[in-house]
Subunit: 201 residues, 2 copies
């Protein structure tokens, strides 16, 4: 039934519009500001419209964080490199800079991640998003270090898993000072470049 | 009027009891679970008692995070070293392990810090707690690295401010995996010891 296809797309677009509104509120005011009424007002739709798409607040919260994950994934998939494949160093730098809240979009992502954390502990569905994602990120960083080691660009005595932790830690710990305006995104980037300069020989 | 002294102490004890209840709720359910009624139930007092001590929810939230900071400060002040002054390495390790949510007390502190972060952005009084504390922590770590360098225990080509960032980042980034049960406190401690082994020569 080809008529179903546009209707499906339309449903997704409406749900995404509601998720956008929710993510904006969460980043500015935290999860405690979320209600059907507040999200409806921010999205410019009726509360009934939201209740049509989401049975309850938990469903709405779960959809919004999955939508955010999808947005991030889209950005990763669409990243184009001017000269074919990136070097391990370029790829590492790109991944680390993605985690820094250096513009409005990434700032919202970072704050939403922080806001959801406590709720993830008690909610298995939300928790799975984090529990699946974090080890994969560590693995990606360790693999890039290993590839650079095999090419002779990183000294063989470095431990790839340990370097992955350090690199993630360095990037992750820039979040609070950048969000609070204690440090600029440029200073956070310089710290990452400083470490990469020492890691790559 | 000596009669005032116990009365003052009593007021602080009652406020602290209410703050304890609030911090327990925040660590388990986030700021969105906070209401006068919920805190009263957790503390085992009447809602009227809470309203007697705190004019509104913002005052209660501000008192509770200041009370938590005071608890942390007490622990730092009371830390005793078996053989007089600690070495820079011992002091560094102690500070870094304090930031890891490795037991119930530190887990609550860590989760409360996460829960308050978004509210700090909009609330100047709460924001000041973070904005004052973070640079002092970086400074403390950098000073310890510098002292160890002067004693010849860390190579002179290491940059103390950069090392402070790396050390804080390594400790700070252990929080989410430890809280989510992806990594044990022992593994987080091992990562810190691994890095200290390489930093100290």
């Amino acid at each position: 039934m080809p008529v179903d296809v546009p209707r499906q797309v339309d449903h997704k677009a409406r749900r995404d519009q509601i998720a956008e509104a929710l993510l904006d509120i969460v980043a500015d005011h935290g999860l405690e500001a979320i209600s059907v009424r507040a999200v409806a007002a921010q999205a410019g739709v009726s509360a009934g419209r939201i209740q049509h798409y989401f049975a309850n607040k938990d469903e709405l919260l779960a959809y919004a964080i999955e939508y955010q994950d999808w947005l991030v994934q889209q950005r990763w998939n669409e990243q184009a490199w001017p000269e074919g494949e990136p070097t391990p160093r370029e790829a590492l730098r790109w991944v680390l800079l993605e985690t820094i809240p250096r513009d409005d979009r990434r700032r919202r992502e970072w704050l939403v991640g922080v806001a959801y954390l406590i709720r993830m502990l008690a909610n298995p569905k939300l928790r799975a998003l984090y529990v699946d994602g974090l080890p994969r990120l560590y693995q990606l960083l360790a693999d890039l270090v290993r590839t650079a080691q095999e090419a002779g660009d990183i000294a063989p005595d470095r431990d790839p898993d340990m370097e992955a932790e350090l690199l993630f830690g360095l990037a992750d710990s820039q979040g609070p000072p950048v969000v609070l305006g204690l440090r600029t995104p440029e200073q956070a980037t310089a710290a990452i470049d400083y470490y990469l300069d020492h890691l790559f020989q």
